[in-house]
């Protein structure tokens, strides 16, 4: 697909990043590095993987799953190449078989393996909606992280800051002396950095952890 003339349209990217798309043509030959090194966005910068202790990195390898349009999900330390492909892409070929819409493709593939892996553990969910749709744990065992800036009593979501807050909270969890295991324990840890509000799960809506910073 990345070699096709309409690759830019299929991948829903601007002309400026077509150089990155060309990386997709060498996925089998390109160097593969740990996912926490390959992903360089705001969330991962705020998480600060290069500064994690060996203990914290080991905890991350065991406890963190990074959802992905290309791989479904990887661990924090799985070795992957750099690539450009989002969960919102449709990889339906003009003819023949293919994954089709990646959201639905991975939703079907991930359901059973992740149900077994998650078990009855709490999931701290820092994903955006497109990736959250690929697998949803039971609402009662899911704590979704939201971030707001508040100014003069009005709250708003600023995407950059929301990503930063999720990365920062993940880093705090990984570095904690004892890893939190409950909603209350996560909220207590988060309260060291933000004003925090917890909204309990209700029906199909998971627990919500609202991190509030002054705007």
């Amino acid at each position: 697909m990345s070699r096709q003339s309409d690759a830019q349209e299929i991948l829903k990217v601007g002309a400026k990043v077509m150089g990155e798309v060309e990386r997709n043509q060498q996925l089998w030959e390109a160097p593969a590095a740990p996912a926490h090194d390959v992903y360089t966005g705001v969330l991962f910068e705020a998480l600060g993987a290069p500064d994690l202790s060996a203990t914290a990195l080991g905890r991350a390898a065991e406890k963190v799953l990074v959802f992905s349009g290309l791989f479904g999900a990887t661990s924090f330390t799985d070795r992957i190449p750099a690539y450009r492909l989002s969960m919102g892409v449709d990889l339906s070929p003009a003819a023949g078989d293919g994954p089709g819409r990646l959201g639905g493709y991975w939703r079907g593939a991930l359901a059973e393996p992740l149900r077994e892996r998650v078990g009855d553990q709490l999931v701290l969910d820092c994903r955006s909606s497109g990736y959250a749709a690929a697998y949803r744990p039971h609402p009662e065992q899911t704590l979704v992280v939201n971030s707001f800036t508040e100014r003069e009593g009005t709250r708003k979501v600023v995407t950059h800051f929301a990503k930063h807050a999720r990365g920062e909270l993940t880093g705090m969890v990984l570095r904690a002396e004892q890893m939190p295991e409950t909603v209350d324990q996560v909220a207590e840890l988060a309260a060291e950095r933000w004003d925090v509000e917890v909204r309990p799960a209700a029906g199909r809506t998971p627990h919500q952890l609202d991190l509030i910073a002054a705007g």
């Binding site: 360089t40 966005g41 290309l70 690539y83 295991e181």
Partner: protein, 45 residues
């Protein structure tokens, strides 16, 4: 507790000095290897 993260698929950096190559059997949840192979082939083709 597990932590679910999004990727930063708009921002990825290649490892300029790396020698390791993608090995689907080494990834977590190896039972997904075939689906991953399909996605990688479709994306790189």
């Amino acid at each position: 507790m597990l932590i679910f993260l999004p990727p930063s698929e708009g921002k990825t950096a290649p490892d300029p000095d790396g020698t390791a190559r993608l090995d689907l059997d080494s990834l977590i949840l190896p039972e997904l290897a075939e689906q991953r192979r399909t996605a990688v082939d479709a994306s790189s083709g």
